[in-house]
């Protein structure tokens, strides 16, 4: 080279020569457009520059801005904005300022890593150098020489050559000749003209930038030592501003420091300890070598090896810790070298970073471009090789259960969707196009690419369709020609009748759709053909729904046609398809288990979520909620219990799925609320509430059934119990089983084989209190002796002792003792169970033939059960009343058989006639003896009639009170008791006493004899009034015992029922906190009920009521007034009070437990329904007590 051999030395004139060269070179370059720097070496030679001087000149030439024209303003570089704090550090030292400036510089010139080299030169150099390296097969001596030659030719400064040569191996390093690096005039014009669209340039990697920054920072440091504080600061620059991982930043610092000859304090040991460490390292190395030899010699680590290694360690003076460390180091070395370890650390850091980023990915897929970005981050920010970054990413994706989608897969997916749309609709609507773009976006394709794909696919489809149409036209043409020819031939054949085959003509005429028979109907017309549906993914199916439906489609071949039917954009067809699909789908879900069941459930939930039309969702909701409750219908073998439960389960789960629009959620929930009579307003989890209420209702139905058909109930219970375990926790199911088993076992006579597992499960339950109900039933002897023996056997196995089936009381006591069942613990539950067993015998319905008397008796009995229910809900507080009520037993009321409907019996009528005759004869008789005889006859038949008319009674009393001889008086005195059951006689006597012409003593004697008691006389003057009062009181007291005139219900029975209900309501009042001494037994039931109403009102007033509740309470008060106004008897008054009390109770409990509100309202509504249908007030009285029993059943169960 000319300048290399310049004879002129680099002296004082050197700078002048350089300046002269620079001026000439600038002029030269300006005149040549800056595109031909190859002449510069020759020019340098002309100016007599040495190699060094030439280098300096080139530096000046390319680094100094030209004075003319003015340089364009330096554009604001975004990187500066990214690191503002870099320039605004707090009170930086000079060194810090220096160490920061280069980073800013490096970053501001980041568009080019080698600003000293012109881009075109750089590009040319890289291309040529790579060709050289390729020719020379790497960095051989010859290659280095050739590359350096090229670099010389292109005036590439020496100080950048190292970096530049290192970058040659990086395939990503692809410098391009920049078009915007133009001569000065071009730059100048850039001020007025909009800059051309900049081409994307590859920015230096953060690692590279950081290294560059580190070099500059280290150069600016006054000493060749990096202390720990500075080290931390430098690393922090890399992590916070360039996003490098800490591990990588530290590695890079160490690397640069080593390259530049700097010492990093943390990387060196203290000099004092250095020798010791070195000695220790040597000792350990010796130990490791010997240990490795021993292990190799022994063929592995065994006890002998360990002893030998321990001896060596002792010999070398190693502590046990050092020995173990050294040994583990051997192990590590066999696995990885030191470098691998570092990489591993980086990979771990990278993996952690990936986990953080990927956990937010919701669609289950990671697109290829995103993966590429992640890998690039791994390379750039974590310093990992690309293959290790990929490997780490794949492992992380697997751990996060994400799928990596390649661009090809995404394109294929979009293409298939376009194909489907073209097949179905023959075009892609704007709406579908938007959906496709959205889908493409989800799969990682940008809009432009996706649009291209769609267009090209549509075009291809159109071409295929045209080809298909042409092919079809050809085929059709050929077929038509054939048809014409055939038709002509047929006509020709017909024109020759003697030889024609008649069957041909017949068959032609009999062809269905023959034009002569059905004009205008051509089944071959394409318009009449139903659209052929194809099983294909619908645009609105999400990824997860698609996968679930595909799985269902593959699993359930029988459902494939029905599943295919939903693959239509036509809403009405889709609705019809749902209606057809869902019932068998539910049936299939019931029949399946595990993953197959789960995928069906997920599919239904997905349809509710993804279905675009609310109308279709309403149909799904209807299919899921129709017939899920039996309501008033009894349970039977035909009841599809499993399907009911599954439907409700899927409905409530669909409603609860996250992200479901609120309207759809409400739609499903309101349907469930309506069907099941529950409310989701409370805090109970909806799924648990739904299933619990449904199953509870089914158990109630079974309990009702068990009273009439225990064997069927047993069979159904076995099925229900098994099914219920799919929806409720096992302990809840067994708690329900526990009660029902007792009911059924007590009555069943058959079906033991089917029912035995349920009974066994209850008896073998871990919770011993579950045995209590069945023990109670067992103790009272089961209906079937065979069942009794079977249950005895199970119980015997449970306690491991023999039991006597014929002595259930003794056996039950033995079991209780053996199992240590504390009755006190289970008292509340026991009370409730006992109440349920009693209430289970009653239902709302009463036979049409039931008489008012029978209903009155049932009302009293239900009143008794109601007290048990009320006491059971009070728990311990109600225990005393519960026990005493149980002890007293139910009211013992029987129908009065003596009361018969219809007219008075003939015999009684005849007797009455005789009595009236005899009374008349007494009046007429003049002979005392004859009167006494007649009187005796009268006494003898007086018992044949209940009463006599007032005129006859008046005549008889007139005779009795008439003054007469003592003998006659004493004779009739003895017979007076015979008329004591005739109230009218006593009334007549009371009427006559004031004016009777007899001594008071005589009258007193007569009245005492008549009443069979001694009437107390206060004074002689008031004696007549006292006796009169006594008679009237006696009549009044005995009036209730009269037989019924209406012949419907005996007064005695009615009074007994009133007394029984009064007793029950007094107990209710005690349970509500009224002391027993404030509840006199003379109070009628309606009076006690009024007090209960007052208590309940006060309780409600003491609560914080909403406006609506206040209105409701006021309405109830008005209802009470109105019902009182309508009541025309104490019986109807009681009926009115029952209803008010129930409504108040329901209101308070509904406020306490909102989820019971709808069920409480059901009871009130049911009572209204019963009242509307009732034919008598006694029927209403019974219904009122029944409603209260139902109320305690509901609230007691929830308590």
């Amino acid at each position: 080279m000319a300048y290399g051999s310049s004879p002129t030395s680099y002296g004082d004139n050197g700078s002048q020569r350089i300046d002269a060269f620079v001026r000439e070179a600038e002029a030269f370059l300006a005149s040549r457009g800056g595109h031909d720097p190859t002449a510069l070496p020759a020019l340098a030679y002309q100016f007599g520059l040495s190699r060094e001087e030439y280098q300096q000149a080139v530096d000046v030439l390319y680094s100094h801005p030209k004075p003319q024209p003015e340089p364009p303003p330096v554009p604001h570089h975004p990187v500066e904005a990214e690191f503002p704090e870099l320039l605004a550090d707090e009170e930086p030292t000079t060194a810090e300022v220096l160490e920061e400036e280069p980073l800013v510089e490096a970053l501001t010139t980041a568009e080019s890593e080698f600003p000293e080299i012109r881009p075109s030169d750089l590009c040319s150099f890289v291309q040529q150098a790579r060709i050289i390296l390729s020719d020379e097969h790497g960095w051989t001596e010859r290659a280095v020489a050739r590359v350096n030659f090229v670099a010389d030719q292109l005036l590439i400064p020496h100080n950048v050559r190292g970096d530049l040569f290192a970058r040659l191996g990086d395939r990503d390093f692809q410098p391009r000749p920049q078009e915007d690096v133009r001569p000065a005039e071009h730059l100048h014009t850039a001020e007025v003209e909009p800059p051309p669209q900049p081409k994307p340039k590859r920015r230096p990697t953060p690692s590279k930038t950081f290294k560059h920054y580190l070099r500059k920072a280290l150069e600016a440091m006054p000493a060749k030592r990096v202390n720990e504080r500075r080290e931390m600061k430098l690393i922090q620059e890399g992590t916070t501003k360039l996003g490098l991982s800490e591990v990588l930043a530290r590695d890079l610092l160490l690397e640069v420091a080593q390259q530049e000859g700097y010492i990093v304090a943390s990387a060196i040991e203290k000099p004092v300890e250095e020798e010791e460490i070195r000695a220790k390292e040597e000792t350990i190395t010796t130990f490791q070598q010997r240990a490795a030899t021993i292990i190799a010699g022994q063929g592995g680590v065994n006890s002998l090896t360990r002893i030998m290694i321990a001896q060596v360690a002792e010999e070398l003076g190693l502590t046990p810790e050092q020995r173990d460390e050294a040994l583990s180091s051997i192990q590590r070395q066999t696995e990885k070298n030191q470098s691998d370890e570092r990489l591993q650390h980086r990979a771990t850091s990278y993996q952690q970073f990936l986990h953080e980023k990927l956990e937010h990915v919701k669609h289950g897929i990671v697109i290829a471009t995103l993966a590429q970005k992640f890998v690039q981050l791994g390379v750039d920010m974590h310093g990992l090789p690309q293959d290790l970054a990929w490997k780490t990413l794949r492992e992380t994706l697997q751990e996060e259960e994400l799928r990596l989608i390649t661009v090809e897969q995404a394109e294929s997916h979009i293409n298939s969707l376009v194909d489907d749309l073209m097949l179905e609709e023959h075009y892609v609507s704007m709406q579908n196009r938007q959906r496709l773009l959205a889908e493409g976006d989800q799969w990682g394709l940008d809009d432009r690419k996706c649009q291209q794909l769609i267009e090209s696919r549509i075009l291809e489809n159109a071409r295929n369709a045209n080809r298909g149409q042409r092919r079809a036209a050809l085929v059709f043409g050929a077929f038509f020609s054939l048809l014409l020819f055939g038709g002509g031939y047929l006509i020709y054949l017909r024109s020759v009748p003697p030889n024609a085959d008649p069957s041909v003509a017949r068959s032609a005429q009999n062809q269905p759709g023959n034009g002569t028979n059905q004009p205008g109907l051509d089944p071959t017309e394409p318009e009449n053909k139903p659209e052929k549906l194809v099983w294909t993914r619908q645009p609105w199916w999400s990824e997860s729904l698609s996968l679930d439906l595909i799985q269902v489609y593959q699993n359930e071949t029988a459902l494939q046609p029905k599943l295919t039917a939903i693959c239509t954009p036509d809403l009405q067809k889709r609705i019809a398809a749902y209606q057809t699909l869902l019932p068998p789908l539910i049936t299939t879900a019931v029949a399946r288990d595990g993953k197959e069941k789960e995928v069906i459930r997920k599919s239904i939930m997905g349809l509710v979520q993804d279905e675009p039309d609310d109308e279709a969702v309403a149909v799904i909701a209807q299919s899921l909620t129709d017939d899920i409750a039996l309501k008033d219908a009894p349970i039977s073998g035909a009841t599809p219990v499993s399907q009911m439960l599954e439907k409700a389960y899927e409905a409530i789960n669909a409603a609860q799925q996250p992200g479901l629009p609120e309207a759809r959620k409400l739609m499903l929930q309101s349907r469930l609320e309506k069907e099941l009579g529950i409310s989701y307003a409370g805090s109970a989890p909806p799924v648990e509430l739904t299933m619990s209420e449904m199953i509870r209702d089914l158990y109630r139905k079974l309990r009702d059934l068990s009273t009439t058909d225990a064997n069927t109930a047993a069979r159904l219970h076995a099925n229900l119990s098994a099914t219920a375990q799919n929806y409720l926790p096992a302990d809840q199911v067994i708690a329900k089983d526990s009660n029902l088993v007792a009911e059924i076992v007590a009555r069943m006579t058959d079906q033991w084989d089917v029912y035995e597992p349920v009974v066994r499960r209850v008896i073998n339950s871990d919770k011993v209190e579950m045995l209590l109900p069945i023990l109670d039933a067992y103790e009272q002897k089961l209906k079937s002796h065979g069942i009794q023996e079977k249950v005895t056997a199970l119980l015997s196995r449970r306690i491991g002792r023999g039991l006597d089936a014929d002595d259930p009381v003794q056996s039950a006591a033995m079991i209780r003792t053996q199992l240590g069942i504390d009755t006190q613990i289970a008292r509340d539950g026991e009370m409730y169970r006992t109440f349920l067993r009693r209430s289970g015998s009653y239902t709302w319905d009463v036979p049409d033939t039931a008489s008012p008397a029978e209903m009155a008796i049932e009302a009293a009995q239900l009143g008794y059960v109601s007290v048990l229910g009320h006491a059971a809900t009070q728990g311990e507080l109600g225990q005393r009343i519960f026990e005493s009520t149980i002890q007293n037993g139910p009211p013992d009321l029987e129908l009065d058989q003596s009361v018969s409907a219809g007219p008075m019996p003939t015999r009684q009528a005849a007797a009455l006639s005789n009595i009236e005759l005899l009374i008349q004869r007494i009046q007429r008789a003049t002979n005392p003896i004859g009167r006494v005889d007649i009187y005796k006859d009268l006494c003898s038949i007086s018992g044949e009639v209940d009463d006599i008319d007032y005129p006859a009674a008046d005549q008889l009393v007139d005779y009795i009170l008439r003054p007469k001889q003592r003998a006659e008086q004493s004779q009739i005195q003895n017979g007076l008791r015979a008329f004591s059951h005739w109230p009218t006689v006593k009334l007549a006597m009371a009427d006559q006493i004031p004016k009777a012409r007899r001594a008071v003593d005589d009258i007193e004697l007569i009245v005492n004899s008549m009443l069979g008691q001694t009437v107390p006389i206060d004074s002689y003057h008031t004696a007549r009034d006292d006796l009169r009062e006594a008679l009237l009181k006696n009549v009044l007291e005995e009036m209730g015992g009269e037989p019924a005139r209406s012949n419907m219900l005996s007064p005695q029975l009615a009074n007994d029922v009133a007394q029984s209900l009064g007793d029950s309501y007094r107990l209710h009042a005690q349970l509500c906190g009224i002391p027993a001494d404030q509840l006199p037994s003379t109070q009628s039931p309606e009076e006690v009920a009024s007090r209960l109403i007052e208590i309940e009102k006060n309780r409600l007033h003491s609560l914080k009521l909403t406006d609506a509740e206040t209105v409701q309470l006021n309405d109830l008060s008005r209802r009470e007034i109105a019902l009182d106004y309508l009541s025309n008897s104490p019986i109807s008054g009681m009926v009115a009070r029952q209803r008010i009390w129930l409504r108040l109770l329901a209101m308070r409990h509904g406020k306490d437990v909102p989820q019971l509100q709808s069920r409480l309202q059901q009871i009130v509504d049911q009572l209204d329904q019963q009242d509307a249908q009732a034919t008598s007030v006694m029927a209403q009285l019974r219904s009122g007590e029944m409603a209260l029993v139902k109320f305690w059943e509901l609230t007691g169960g929830s308590a």
């Binding site: 008012p852 007032y950 008046d954 009334l987 009427d991 008031t1022 009034d1025 009169r1028 009062e1029 009237l1032 009181k1033 009549v1035 009044l1036 009036m1039 209730g1040 015992g1041 009269e1042 019924a1044 005139r1045 209406s1046 419907m1048 219900l1049 005996s1050 007064p1051 005695q1052 009615a1054 009074n1055 029922v1057 009133a1058 003379t1082 009628s1084 309405d1115 008005r1118 209802r1119 007034i1121 109105a1122 019902l1123 106004y1125 309508l1126 009541s1127 025309n1128 008897s1129 104490p1130 019986i1131 109807s1132 009926v1135 009115a1136 209204d1168 009242d1171 509307a1172 009732a1174 034919t1175 008598s1176 007030v1177 006694m1178 029927a1179 209403q1180």
Partner: protein, 315 residues
């Protein structure tokens, strides 16, 4: 008088319009026919009608159906108050129109269809607008109801539903006794005698005595067990379960208890109202349900008349 009221120009116009319709396509309708020279109308269903004559299907007391043809010249007045077209014009948006039409129909008690339709329209009006129409409609319905308990039911409903909750609607039945005031001994004895007369079926005497103001006052102030009105009801046989010569147990109990209270020197005791006294059929009737839909046999939700049927409005 009624006939005069019905012959208003408006009514005549309606009838003419109805007759015109009848001659064409009207379905069978109930009609009340006043024949010339007869005071009692004939009630039946129009089977045929033209300009000259009309054929009426009449149900006899024995339940037999007869077809009777009348020349129009024989007819003094033909009433067909229930007009389907007018029913069809009623809209839930105007509940008042239901009540007003029902009030027109109430006047025609002789026409069973009018009574039935009026009942339905009243209950629909109350249902459609409880706040504004319930009171008028329910009270307007009472003249059509014969059973006193049902009348009370309607009044109780009106009290409950009407926003004013007027307690006066429930008055007239509760006894207004003012027990405790001193009663002259002579009057007291006379009063006891009156009660005995009632009890012993000396009703004429008892009724005469009850016209004395001092006796009625003595009953009111001397006892809480019975009122003078109730005594009169027993005499007249109008109380529940009462009849000619029949005193139901609950009333007998009241009479005896009142007598006892009047003669007793001790403080009056509360008379237990034993259930056994209230077993008469009149007491065994069920307590009415206080809801509009149970007040009559008609479902008030079916408030639109279309094609001869009452239907519920579409939601």
């Amino acid at each position: 008088m009624m006939r005069k009221r019905l012959l208003t120009p408006a009514m005549a116009a309606i009838l003419l319009a109805m007759l015109f319709v009848l001659g064409t396509t009207s379905p069978i309708q109930a009609a009340v026919v006043y024949l010339k020279g007869r005071s009692e109308p004939l009630v039946g269903f129009v089977e045929f009608s033209d300009d000259q004559s009309i054929t009426l299907r009449v149900t006899t007391e024995k339940g037999e159906e007869l077809h009777r043809k009348f020349m129009r010249s024989e007819i003094d007045l033909l009433l067909q108050p229930v007009i389907p077209s007018r029913l069809a014009s009623l809209s839930p948006d105007n509940p008042r129109a239901y009540r007003e039409y029902a009030e027109e129909l109430v006047e025609m008690k002789s026409d069973p269809e009018a009574v039935e339709t009026a009942t339905r329209l009243f209950i629909i009006a109350a249902h459609l607008s409880p706040k504004t129409e319930a009171r008028s409609a329910l009270l307007g319905l009472t003249p059509l109801v014969k059973d006193p308990q049902r009348v009370r039911q309607l009044r109780a409903l009106a009290y409950m539903i009407d926003p004013k909750h007027d307690a006066k609607l429930l008055q007239g039945d509760s006894p207004s006794a003012k027990s405790g005031a001193a009663v002259d001994d002579k009057i007291r004895e006379d009063t006891v005698s009156v009660l005995q007369m009632v009890r012993t079926e000396h009703r004429a005497d008892a009724k005469q005595q009850l016209q004395r103001e001092e006796i009625r006052d003595a009953i009111r102030s001397g006892t809480k067990q019975i009122t003078p009105e109730e005594c009169l009801e027993i005499i007249q046989g109008t109380c529940p379960g009462c009849g000619q010569g029949v005193i139901p147990p609950y009333m007998m109990q009241k009479l005896i208890a009142a007598e006892l209270e009047l003669i007793s020197s001790k403080s009056p005791t509360e008379m237990p109202r034993q259930w056994g006294y209230f077993l008469d059929e009149s007491f065994q009737k069920p307590l009415p349900v206080l809801t509009l839909d149970k007040a009559t046999r008609f479902d008030p939700a079916k408030c639109i008349f279309r094609d001869g049927k009452w239907i519920e409005p579409s939601p």
